[in-house]
């Protein structure tokens, strides 16, 4: 694992991939997010942390267009967006995994990851039906890509198993695989290590670092395991009751008195 903050110097000059400016989100009277601004730079691993109900998942949902902020602006790849649907976000290169695994339980690992390629398929319905020729060529190309992901995530042995039968840790890995199949520019991971044992966590951490390192994918992740957050991320943003209370490198955040009080427990 690399030393924390090792590549902050290079990311500091890096361009901003996504910026969130003064975003607020309310459900009726409940204010989920209040006036939050931060940015995600290209190629970094950005963690969003905070106690339960701090608005972390809502923030991800805003970023990938599932919720529409009541106020504020979101700029992705230099383009400000107004109303946004998840499908458009996906087309623009945002992929995500979910806090509760959301896979097609009856389908095999391979097919689940193949669904991640759906947006990249160009052959029309009738070509698909005819199957031979362009549709087949396309499928082979996509299959190659999916196989590379399977190899990357070391899940060859469950390639043909229905995901519903797999242990939780592996399901999480398959979900990551499906998100990777989209070849995203920005990958949103909602608690990728929740409910995992130590070994699975270490594997997952390594996969996240490798994804970031090898494909240059920008990653935003929500995680509760502080050790993981501090080791993995380049910068951390801390939310509490829908407000941003801190933003900076893991070391800075760790020292921040407000964060210590809110999240890490009061120091003695």
């Amino acid at each position: 694992m690399r030393a924390p903050g090792e590549n902050t110097a290079e990311t500091r000059q890096a361009e901003v991939l996504l910026s969130v400016e003064n975003v607020s989100l309310a459900f009726g009277g409940v204010k989920a997010i209040t006036d939050v601004s931060f940015d995600i730079r290209k190629g970094e691993i950005r963690a969003i942390i905070g106690p339960n109900g701090a608005g972390k998942t809502s923030m991800l949902n805003v970023i990938n267009g599932f919720y529409h902020p009541s106020q504020g602006r979101i700029t992705f790849k230099g383009q400000q967006r107004a109303k946004m649907r998840p499908s458009i976000a996906a087309r623009q290169g945002i992929a995500r995994t979910f806090q509760n695994v959301a896979l097609f339980k009856g389908m095999s690992t391979l097919d689940n990851i193949m669904t991640g390629r759906a947006l990249k398929m160009t052959c029309g319905f009738f070509w698909q039906l005819w199957r031979h020729g362009p549709a087949m060529r396309e499928e082979v190309e996509h299959r190659r890509h999916v196989e590379q992901i399977i190899d990357f995530l070391e899940i060859q042995h469950i390639r043909n198993q229905a995901v519903g039968k797999l242990p939780y840790g592996l399901q999480k890995r398959v979900e990551l695989g499906r998100a990777l199949a989209m070849e995203p520019d920005l990958l949103l991971l909602d608690e990728p290590m929740a409910g995992m044992n130590l070994e699975e966590k270490e594997d997952m951490s390594r996969f996240i670092i490798d994804v970031n390192d090898q494909f240059g994918t920008t990653i935003a992740l929500i995680e509760h395991d502080m050790g993981v957050v501090m080791d993995l991320s380049d910068r951390v943003v801390v939310l509490e009751y829908g407000r941003k209370i801190a933003d900076g490198t893991p070391a800075e955040v760790k020292r921040d008195q407000k964060v210590i009080d809110a999240y890490l427990g009061v120091a003695h």
Partner: protein, 657 residues
């Protein structure tokens, strides 16, 4: 490079065998690997090219005759090519167990004095780097899989591709180098050191067994003739490269017979890959067969009632007649027909599942197999045979000829092998495969090998009336109870391990009043049972301590006692008390060897409080053990373990008297 072998010259080294194969059967597949879900094949001609490029590359990077080249990783074509490439240059490959922790690896690499380490991936590179400061001679590291290694310092680290590219460049720039390499290959002689294989060592530090080409090739050819192997065989290579069995079966024998070796996609896909390939020549330690049996038994428990009934009916039929049919004995027509039906309905599909449909010869070696497991596979029609071998013998000591298969013997002496039984019951052998000595350890060599070439195996055994060797146990493990009755721990343990619920067992009793045992439950089998019986558990420890689990295991132990009581030699050594260990025995904690054999002495020491409790009559015992997690950190497990008494059975003839 085909012209390199002169007409009539002796093909006495592995690189020369490779050249011969490239010439004689250049287009036939030599090795396959499943990559991205597709089997990729390399022909003998292609392998020869890769090996030549790699050898020239290694030579350009400084590898010279006599250097030691460590090979660390799982079964990959490139790692096998590295063996051959090193041997072309007269360097000596030293395969290392890839799951050893850095500490164990450091000992082997240091002891062998390796100058080059060829690693499979980042994990192995990291391990070697972490101990690099202790390896003064290490000048070069090569890796196969580049993943995660991009940002590493590449001054002493090269990818396998780079090495091959260097080799091609050298050859293109200076054609004389090719001739030089051919000359180097020709310089190799049968008496040269071919490989150093470190034995995993049931006791103490690993020892480097030195084998020459004459050793391994003679042994390989004898094996080929014994089993009438051809270049049509398909084998799957999934056992550690550092194990002599893999070195012989997947490397030397493949080169000698010209058959194809298949490398699975990953360690977890072996069963499926084996099924796709349909191996014709198989070898596995008993544990593999145990796992296959356990898995299918567990699945059958979950199957629907009619299927289960059909399975049980036909398996019972196979147990009664299957082995007789396989041995070509006379069997009533009705039984034969029913067996045929069973073949269609149960045995065929089952063998297909196991990937054993096409097996002509299947060996189990490395450890004694439980007779019940052995008979099960033979009953299905799998020609499973036992082999008794050692690293020091280049594998073969005895093997069972076709048609003379019995579960309790390991067969007749292999071709060109002489065997004698020492006064203390120890088996000793002499053969062309006998090793040269332990590397840098003349003392140990002298202890094991006599001046006239006899090797002490350390196993106790005897020849039965039919001329077959029977191994009872390790010579030093076989003991006597206080009553004088023979106590062979492994024999008892194997009986226990036949039950799918029991994964591992360790029996005690030497110089004691009665026999006791530690039991490890099998998490797959017992976990599935727990699910069906609404037994809730959070961990292995909790399940192992569950009273219903104890009931179940006590039942198994009682059955073992009954079966022991039927054998006059063993009836005295029935299990009086047992306990279920709170943790699984693990190689990382030093309790098993890397080949998954129980390290009895170590376990006895580590769990001394539990053994004391077994013999002082208490029903509960406390134990604290240090464990090593997979990431190398250490922790302590504390547990309270229950102990049960089991009724022993008085032998029938005693009752009659």
């Amino acid at each position: 490079m085909a012209e390199a072998i002169a007409e009539g010259a002796a093909v006495d080294t592995v690189p020369k065998l490779l050249l011969r194969n490239a010439q004689q059967r250049g287009a036939r597949p030599a090795i396959r690997e499943k990559d991205l879900g597709i089997w990729q094949a390399w022909s003998w001609a292609e392998v020869a090219t890769h090996v030549r490029d790699c050898a020239l590359g290694l030579a350009a990077l400084g590898v010279a005759r006599g250097d030691k080249v460590a090979v660390i990783g799982r079964n990959k074509p490139r790692l096998y090519w590295t063996f051959a490439a090193a041997q072309c240059l007269g360097a000596i490959p030293v395969p290392v167990y890839q799951d050893s922790v850095a500490e164990e690896m450091a000992y082997v690499l240091e002891h062998a004095g390796v100058t080059v380490a060829v690693c499979e991936d980042q994990e192995q590179v990291d391990k070697v780097l972490s101990i690099a400061d202790r390896l003064s001679g290490l000048a070069l590291m090569v890796y196969d899989d580049p993943r995660g290694l991009r940002d590493y310092d590449h001054t002493r680290l090269k990818s396998f591709e780079t090495v091959e590219a260097t080799g091609r460049e050298v050859a293109a720039r200076d054609p004389a180098r090719k001739a030089w390499l051919d000359a180097e290959i020709a310089r190799g002689a049968g008496s040269d050191l071919a490989v150093i294989l470190y034995t995993s060592g049931t006791t103490g530090k690993p020892k480097g067994v030195m084998l020459t080409y004459d050793n391994v090739i003679r042994a390989a050819i004898n094996g080929i003739e014994f089993d009438k192997l051809t270049d049509q065989e398909e084998v799957i290579a999934y056992l550690p490269l550092a194990w002599v069995g893999d070195h012989l079966f997947s490397y030397v024998q493949s080169y000698a017979a010209g058959y194809c070796v298949n490398c699975p996609e990953s360690g977890e896909t072996v069963v499926e890959d084996r099924r796709e390939i349909g191996t014709t020549y198989a070898f596995a330690p008993p544990r593999v067969y145990e796992t296959l049996l356990t898995l299918s038994m567990v699945r059958m428990e979950d199957a629907s009632a009619p299927k289960r009934r059909m399975f049980n009916y036909f398996i019972a039929h196979a147990r009664r007649w299957g082995e007789k049919i396989l041995n070509r004995e006379s069997v009533p027509l009705g039984a034969r027909l029913l067996y045929g039906l069973g073949e269609v309905l149960v045995y065929g599909p089952l063998k297909n599942r196991f990937g054993l449909s096409r097996v002509r010869v299947g060996y189990t070696a490395g450890e004694a197999i439980g007779p019940e497991i052995f008979r099960f596979f033979r009953a299905l029609g799998v020609n499973l045979k036992q082999l008794y071998g050692q690293t020091e013998a280049s594998v073969y000591i005895t093997a069972q000829p076709d048609g003379e298969i019995r579960a309790d013997t390991v067969g007749r002496p292999s071709p060109e092998v002489e065997i004698r039984i020492a006064d203390n019951g120890e088996v000793q052998f002499r053969s062309p495969g006998v090793f040269q000595g332990y590397y840098k350890d003349a003392e140990k060599t002298a202890e094991t090998k006599t001046a006239d070439g006899w090797v002490k195996t350390g196993d106790a055994g005897f020849f039965d009336q039919s001329g077959h060797l029977r191994i009872i146990d390790r010579a030093k493990d076989v003991g006597k109870l206080a009553s004088g009755a023979l106590f062979a721990p492994k024999y008892i343990e194997n009986k226990l391990k036949f039950y799918p619920n029991i994964k591992e067992a360790v029996a005690f009793g030497d110089r004691r009043g009665f026999v006791t045992a530690f039991v490890n439950i099998d998490l797959t089998a017992v976990g599935s049972w727990a699910e069906r019986n609404n037994v809730v558990y959070a961990s292995y420890q909790e399940l192992a301590g569950h009273s219903q689990v104890y009931e179940m295991i006590a039942g198994h132990v009682a059955e073992v006692n009954r079966s022991l009581s039927e054998e006059p030699m063993m009836a005295g050594a029935q299990i009086a008390r047992f306990l279920i260990l709170h943790k699984e025995l693990d190689a990382d904690d030093g309790e098993l060897t890397r080949t998954q054999k129980v390290r009895r002495g170590f376990i006895a020491e580590r769990y001394a409080p539990l053994i004391d409790a077994l013999y002082d009559g208490s029903t509960l015992a406390d134990i604290r053990t240090e464990v090593t997690f997979e990431d190398g950190r250490r922790g302590v497990i504390a547990a309270r373990v229950g102990i049960r008494d089991v009724p022993t059975v008085t032998p029938v003839k005693d009752l009659a008297a």
